[in-house]
């Protein structure tokens, strides 16, 4: 069943002609009462869009992704799927629509299961009717492993890193989800192999209309495949917008600093922030970035910045921008 972009308009809610598939509204996730991993996020991802969620460790991007998947419960706020709040009693059905691709393909596959079993697992859990073998073969070839039969009886340790990641992607594709959430999908793969996996994600978007949310710390990856970029810092999205705009004309001082230290030839002056990425258990008052901001103003310690709303434009949560 191929989902064409045209038929997608039947599902989901239209907003200015866009079809919103998955999103978050005022989402907050607090651990142990103190660690505010996600501290107020509004997000909307359109059908067939590739959004990159970038930030350093501790910024909450992985927690946000896991909450969108239903693997974590929000402390307040909502996860929206096709404009309706997520029904936590129907999580299993939700899983068929929104799938996960993890960072480490070797760890993500049970070493005792063959490739066939790994891909068929989803089908068996959801008792999908139909010819299991044909469905598995189809998913494997869509993920680029051809001829698929050759891989049925292989074990994960017999495959290369790139092939393993393709198996993980096939396992997700076999359920024909609408959304793929990929957490650092290429960071544990060899450099020369990353391109093929990224290319695969792009192809899946073009051919299947798949919506992809990529969580990564690699701005180059975002430049490579993302339509929009959302930069997170200490649990909030501090800047969001079309990739070309955010990465070439960043408005938020944090984004500017991040971009300046990406290793590149003939770059402008590097803004190397001092100190460590801070602790989500002790979020600073006012603008959460103010202790490390190279262009901080006096009002930044007390200003209350609103959550960046939804919409396609380029926005940043900074006093200097407003």
């Amino acid at each position: 069943m191929r989902v064409s972009v045209a038929s997608l308009r039947v599902f989901g809610c239209h907003r200015d002609g866009r079809v919103v598939v998955i999103g978050a509204r005022d989402l907050r996730v607090v651990f142990g009462g103190r660690v505010r991993a996600v501290d107020g996020v509004d997000l909307e991802v359109d059908a067939g869009e590739i959004v990159a969620l970038v930030g350093e460790s501790g910024c909450g991007k992985t927690t946000l992704a896991r909450t969108l998947l239903g693997l974590e419960r929000p402390s307040s706020g909502e996860v929206l799927f096709e404009d309706k709040p997520l029904d936590y009693r129907r999580l299993k059905a939700y899983r068929r629509q929104v799938q996960l691709v993890l960072q480490d393909p070797l760890g993500a596959l049970n070493p005792r299961h063959t490739v066939y079993d790994a891909v068929a697992e989803g089908l068996r859990i959801h008792r999908v009717p139909g010819d299991e073998q044909a469905l598995v073969a189809d998913a494997l070839s869509r993920a680029g492993l051809r001829p698929p039969e050759r891989f049925f009886l292989r074990y994960p340790h017999e495959l290369s890193g790139g092939q393993r990641q393709r198996v993980v992607i096939a396992g997700a594709l076999v359920l024909e989800p609408r959304v793929l959430i990929a957490d650092e999908p290429v960071s544990s793969l060899d450099a020369s192999v990353r391109g093929e996996i990224l290319g695969l994600l792009l192809r899946l978007r073009d051919e299947l209309g798949l919506t992809v949310l990529v969580v990564t710390h690699d701005l180059g990856l975002a430049w490579n495949i993302a339509d929009r970029v959302a930069v997170m810092y200490l649990g909030r999205i501090v800047e969001i917008g079309p990739t070309a705009e955010v990465l070439q004309s960043p408005q938020h001082p944090y984004t500017q600093a991040l971009l300046s230290v990406v290793p590149d030839v003939g770059h402008t002056e590097q803004i190397v922030l001092t100190g460590e990425p801070p602790d989500p258990a002790r979020i600073p008052s006012g603008c959460r970035f103010h202790p490390r901001c190279p262009v901080v103003l006096p009002e930044c310690t007390s200003v209350s910045l609103p959550i960046l709303g939804v919409g396609g434009g380029h926005r940043a949560a900074c006093v200097r921008v407003e």
Binding site: G220, L247, P263
Partner: protein, 317 residues
């Protein structure tokens, strides 16, 4: 005299089906005050090459060629001289070092260990404080335990440990992998600053050509145990001559480069297993610009510009 010189070095590991050639005929040198980058992916032999400098390979490995550390061949050194050389002449920061700290000892104690072993300072504790400051950590952290430090801080501790006995040469194997981009910048700044201030020589090993391009004076690219390209850092990154280097550079797209938008660059297949090499040019099965001759010709490093060499048939033609 170069600080470090590898002369036609080869390393064979003992494999289940015979020797596995991890390094095949590498010739490279590092001068004082220079940062040499070695670029490559898993299986290319870069970590093995680094380990040869202090003879840290297992006994079953056979090492050929000469490795001259300040003129003296490490491979023929007596055991006593080798032990003395280890850490006080050359030190290595290993891959995944931030996980190599003993979790039940304070970092101050662990830093003091090489100092005590080599008796390089009268007051080890004072030296420990000095080292911590050199790597940008407050001296008070000497009493902290590894789990209390962040990844970036642990990496700094490993660098401090490498500096403990005042070596002339530091080899850092993937020092910034697994670190955030901002912390990576801090660590790279630290490393280049140390080379500048202490006049050391440094070898930086990484698969991230971007990192190497912006910090190294020269870069050598390794593939399947051989060097396939050498040149000045920025030039190798900006204008690669060898198709493999081009693919490696493409894997880290430049933000702002319109050609990289929606066009990920990747190679089919995998970095080769050293025991299972194709004939001819090692890279030809994956090469995007392969020619017929590549499958059988023997390829060696040829001139590819001022101060540059590359091992590719297309370069010589």
């Amino acid at each position: 005299m170069s600080l470090l010189e590898w002369r036609d070095v080869s390393v064979d590991y003992a494999g289940p089906d015979g020797p596995v050639p991890a390094v095949r005929g590498v010739t490279l040198s590092v001068e004082r005050g220079e940062v040499l980058g070695i670029a490559g992916e898993s299986g290319c032999g870069k970590s093995t090459l680094a380990a040869t400098v202090l003879r840290l390979l297992p006994d079953s490995a056979r090492v050929g060629g000469e490795i001259l550390l300040d003129g003296a061949d490490v491979l023929t050194m007596s055991w006593g001289k080798l032990r003395a050389a280890r850490w006080s002449d050359a030190a290595i920061v290993f891959q995944g070092a931030l996980h190599s700290l003993n979790p039940v000892q304070s970092i101050g104690k662990q830093l003091a260990e090489p100092i005590r072993l080599h008796k390089t300072a009268a007051d080890p504790d004072a030296r420990v404080r000095e080292l911590l400051e050199q790597v940008g950590l407050p001296a008070s952290r000497a009493s902290a335990y590894p789990h209390e430090l962040s990844g970036g801080q642990r990496q700094r501790v490993m660098i401090a440990m490498a500096l403990a006995c005042g070596p002339d040469l530091v080899i850092a194997d993937e020092p910034t992998t697994a670190l955030d981009v901002m912390v990576q910048a801090q660590v790279l700044d630290l490393l280049t600053g140390l080379v500048r201030d202490l006049g050391m020589g440094m070898v930086l090993i990484s698969h991230d050509l971007g990192v190497l391009g912006t910090t190294c004076d020269r870069i050598a690219v390794m593939y399947a145990g051989r060097i396939v390209e050498i040149g000045p850092g920025l030039e190798v990154f900006d204008d690669p001559q060898h198709p493999y280097t081009r693919a490696l550079a493409g894997a880290f797209p430049r933000v702002g480069d319109p050609a990289a938008r929606y066009a990920p660059v990747g190679l089919p297949g995998d970095p080769p297993y050293p025991g299972d090499l194709p004939g001819g040019c090692d890279f030809h099965p994956r090469c995007p610009v392969v020619m017929d001759a590549c499958a059988t010709a023997s390829v060696s490093l040829v001139d590819a510009g001022v101060g540059r060499v590359a091992a590719c048939l297309r370069v010589s033609s």
